[in-house]
């Protein structure tokens, strides 16, 4: 294995930061060199992520590539990292989207190129750090530190109302994480450690028993922080502003990765640490998620601004993810994880495409476009494919995730599944209608006749995206197999923890337990 093998996660986490440091010492005038360095660093990072993804053992339910060293002695904070079936996918997603967003800004970002790429790479370190940290404190550190580069990306390179959006973004997120910090401290106080696995062990061995009231409070303290990030209705109001005002790269990373941190946090912390509260409040959260799905879709329908439309579609899509998570069964959770990746790829790609339109026409208003498929056929085709993937057409990635989620939701409560299915129809409505207004029909505005089609850089990016979309839609096995063990173990853990509690919970858990037979899940997948 060697040194690199033993410290692969450290390298993975800090390689982008090293790249950012290199860029920090370059002259601001050498914009081209800076772009290339950033791109190469992010591509090496992507390769590393692929290596970790392929080296990930399918039979191990626990953490892999673990690194654990003491860092701060009092309180005992460890430098503890590892990946399981959940985080390995998100690491790969982050690795995929960062070079894409650098490429997407290749011609759009012209001022302060150096600082821009510095922040993008620093942001990548923060994101990877969040996904691989297994120490509550270390996690919190990356979680907070990552906000600063994002804040600058929105605030410096964003559109007209960028200052408002940047401050709103950071304050919202800070408010959530502040409460989480208190909860983390409370847990530390009860357990004497920040090590997530040690805390889980104490919980499962009965060494630590949280009173129901305490558990409920802690659950909400963690959950609200994550729900703001997701964002779950009614905490979503920062999102349309931030997504719309951010530059293309910012929107891609925000939608593609940052939102996933919320759902990741729910899966990594809320469910395993507070299983009873998760079961108790599952219905409330599910209802909020469904409201988010329907509300996001309805609001997206009436948006005049393309970017805002895509932003609201994120609210709806992430509603699906949360619904899947709180179905608390294997189908739902696997679907949710899969949908997290799908949404990252599809919505990221949508933002890139909208960015391409904006670069050409300097407007994002739907009414300014029309009939573009005759003037930019290649861009139109890519847009069509990505739109279809986003609305969950079979053979595309979105279908697999949404199908599993709805299946899982049905099994937890038939009404949830039915309502979520309505959301799928809504998604088709607003996405296709948007496509129709922008690309089909007559060219009404003469300015739209003269715009150039995709260049080589843009084609290369979109071909990569389309390949991933099709692969994930047609052959999802490599992804699903990696999460099987982790998800099975997680669902079992919740079922076990809640069986001993109340009779009602016992029944529910037993139902979950029977539903997660492996044969059944692989059947559902086809």
């Amino acid at each position: 294995m060697g040194w690199l093998g033993e410290h692969s996660l450290t390298v993975l986490t800090f390689l982008p930061l090293a790249g950012a440091l290199i860029i920090a010492f370059l002259s601001p005038d050498s914009a081209k060199r800076i772009r290339w360095i950033a791109l190469v660093v992010s591509l090496i990072e992507f390769l590393l992520a692929i290596m970790i993804f392929s080296g990930f053992s399918l039979h191990e339910p626990g953490m892999q590539f673990v690194e654990d060293y003491p860092w701060i002695t009092s309180p005992p904070i460890g430098y503890h990292m590892g990946v399981d079936g959940l985080s390995v996918l998100l690491v790969l997603l982050t690795g995929f989207l960062t070079p894409l967003s650098i490429l997407a800004s290749w011609s759009g970002i012209t001022k302060r190129v150096k600082e821009f790429h510095l922040f993008v790479l620093a942001l990548e370190t923060g994101m990877i750090g969040v996904f691989v940290s297994l120490d509550l404190f270390l996690f919190f550190l990356f979680w907070e530190a990552m906000l600063i580069p994002m804040y600058f990306l929105i605030g410096v390179w964003g559109h007209e109302r960028r200052l408002h959006a940047a401050v709103k973004f950071i304050l919202y997120t800070m408010a959530g994480s502040a409460l989480m910090l208190v909860a983390i401290l409370y847990l530390y106080n009860a357990t004497g450690t920040f090590n997530l696995q040690a805390i889980l062990e104490q919980l499962s061995s009965g060494q630590l028993a949280l009173a129901p009231k305490v558990e409920n409070w802690l659950f909400w303290a963690f959950f609200v922080a994550f729900a703001i990030k997701v964002p779950l209705f009614p905490l979503h109001t920062w999102l349309p502003d931030a997504h719309t005002e951010a530059p293309t790269a910012g929107s891609v990373i925000l939608a593609g990765v940052l939102l996933k941190m919320g759902t990741y946090g729910m899966l990594r912390f809320c469910l395993p640490l507070f299983p009873h509260a998760s079961v108790t409040y599952g219905p409330i959260v599910s209802v909020l998620a469904i409201i988010g799905i329907l509300y996001g879709a309805l609001v997206a329908m009436v948006q005049p601004d393309l970017k805002r439309l895509v932003a609201y579609s994120s609210v709806a899509h992430l509603g699906f993810v949360v619904l899947g998570i709180f179905a608390l069964n294997v189908n739902g959770v696997e679907g949710a994880i899969y949908q997290m990746c799908n949404h990252g790829v599809s919505t990221g790609a949508l933002f890139i495409l909208v960015g391409m339109l904006y670069d050409r026409r300097h407007t994002r208003l739907i009414k300014d476009f029309g009939g573009l498929s005759t003037t930019v056929p290649v861009l139109g085709t890519f847009f069509m494919i990505v739109t279809l993937s986003s609305l969950g057409l079979p053979m595309m990635n979105g279908f697999v995730g949404e199908f599993l989620i709805i299946l899982g939701a049905f099994r937890s409560h038939a009404a949830y599944g039915a309502l979520a299915a309505v959301g799928v129809i809504f998604a088709a409505v607003y996405l296709l209608w948007m496509y129709q207004r922008v690309f089909l029909g007559e060219v009404t505005d003469d300015k739209n006749r003269a715009i150039p089609d995709c260049n080589w850089r843009e084609k290369a990016m979109m071909i990569a995206v389309v390949l991933v979309i099709l692969w994930m839609g047609i052959y999802p096995q490599p992804f699903l197999r990696r999460m099987d063990q982790t998800v099975n173990q997680m669902v079992e853990h919740i079922a076990l923890a809640t069986t001993s509690a109340t009779p009602a919970a016992t029944q529910q858990a037993a139902r979950h337990a029977t539903l997660k037979a492996p044969a059944e899940t692989s059947e559902a997948r086809r």
């Binding site: 530190a145 304050l171 408010a175 910090l181 530390y188 106080n189």
Partner: protein, 487 residues
Amino acid sequence: MMTVKAADIFRLLPEIILSAFAVLVMVLDPFVKTRKSGLGWLALAGVIATGVGTFWTSQAPGESFRRSLAADPFSLYFILIFLLVAALTILGSVRYLERDNINHGEFYALVLMATVGACFMAASMDLILLFIGLEISSISTYILAGFKRTDALSNEASLKYFLLGSFATAFFLYGIAFVYGLTGTTNLLTINERLGRGDPAAASHFLWVAAILLFVGIAFKASTAPFQIWTPDVYQGAPAPVSALLSVGPKAAAFAILLRVFLGGLATTSAVTFWVLWLSAILTMCLGNLGALFQPNVKRLLGYSSIAHAGYVLVGIAAALRTGGAEGSASVLFYLIAYALMNVGAFVLVAHLAGTGERATSIDDYTGLGYLRPGTAAVLSVLLLSLAGLPTTAGFFAKFYVFRAAVHAHLIGLTIVAVLNSVVSWYYYLRIVVAMYMREGKTEASTYAVPWPLGTALFVSVVGILFLGLYPNLFLKLASLAARPLP
């Protein structure tokens, strides 16, 4: 007749060296006609010499002068903070005084005297001696606040600080009188012993009155609510390097007294003092942050922010009072060193950016600074983000330890108020960052290169902030060690 032993003198070494240098600067001042900054370097040498003396003293800690002074880890730790503040202030003032044409030698002498006073405040075990330390420090800082003799704002600051300050010290003295009347002594150790032994005075309600009177005096110096009103005016009017000193030196000294008196001497009143501090902490944090929120002037903004920080410190002290454990006090001590590094750094940098005569002190003046002076703006950003409490900076761990102590003391409500306040504070610290990097327009702030003495001070601040933020072990250990003799 009291006999003075060699050990007594030895344990007073830091204060003696510092006073000697202060007098030396004073005496040499008339003879130095042109190069007054030489006196600044002399003062800095005094601070460094005192640092060596403090290290020497720390080899044999103990009480001196019949238990009226203590050279214990607690006081030595505080002396370290005061010396750091003095050194950074002097480094930040040398060019400032030349630029604003107030280059008088007594400035440095007064900085040293203010520091001597603060050292006495931290080291005294006797209320009378403590009061004398308070007065030495106060009178020096009254003069420093009005050091720009021809500037109306500076005069106003000095007068305001003087009038309210003397009022507050009178309360403090009144409190001492009560304590003496009840216990028959002014020595904190003896007070503690007598009250702990079940002296009838322990049950007296007048003891609570005494505690509250003492708190009023201390609260003024520490600028904690409801005695914080003067803070923004004084910090705005005083020369910015003086504000740097004011916002940390006397404040830290006041917290040292608070810990010594409420955890040590009057520990039996903790049932009352806890609630006083609890209430004051909430008020201080909220009022400080609210005041800073829409404040357009950077000096005033930092003034309000320093009030808010005093509130976080009070949270730590309240936790210490609740548990009686060293964790709360240790978190306070750690907080103060982090706060010293970032707040002095921020104020001396603001002094430089304000330009000749301190004209550019509005946030709007900083517009676009990030691209004209990227290095300076980056340093200011680090200082501000540390004040806001960004992880990997000292400010984060400072808050983290205080909150941890509070959670440990089961003060969950207080902790939630504190963390929410700290979220609010992000807004105004970021306003400065926004102006520097995200607004287009003409920079009014001074774009001259940072002079090297100030550069040195900023280097120390930033390296210290990052060191404490990435590897807090060392100083946390020191802080825990220093907090142990309490109560």
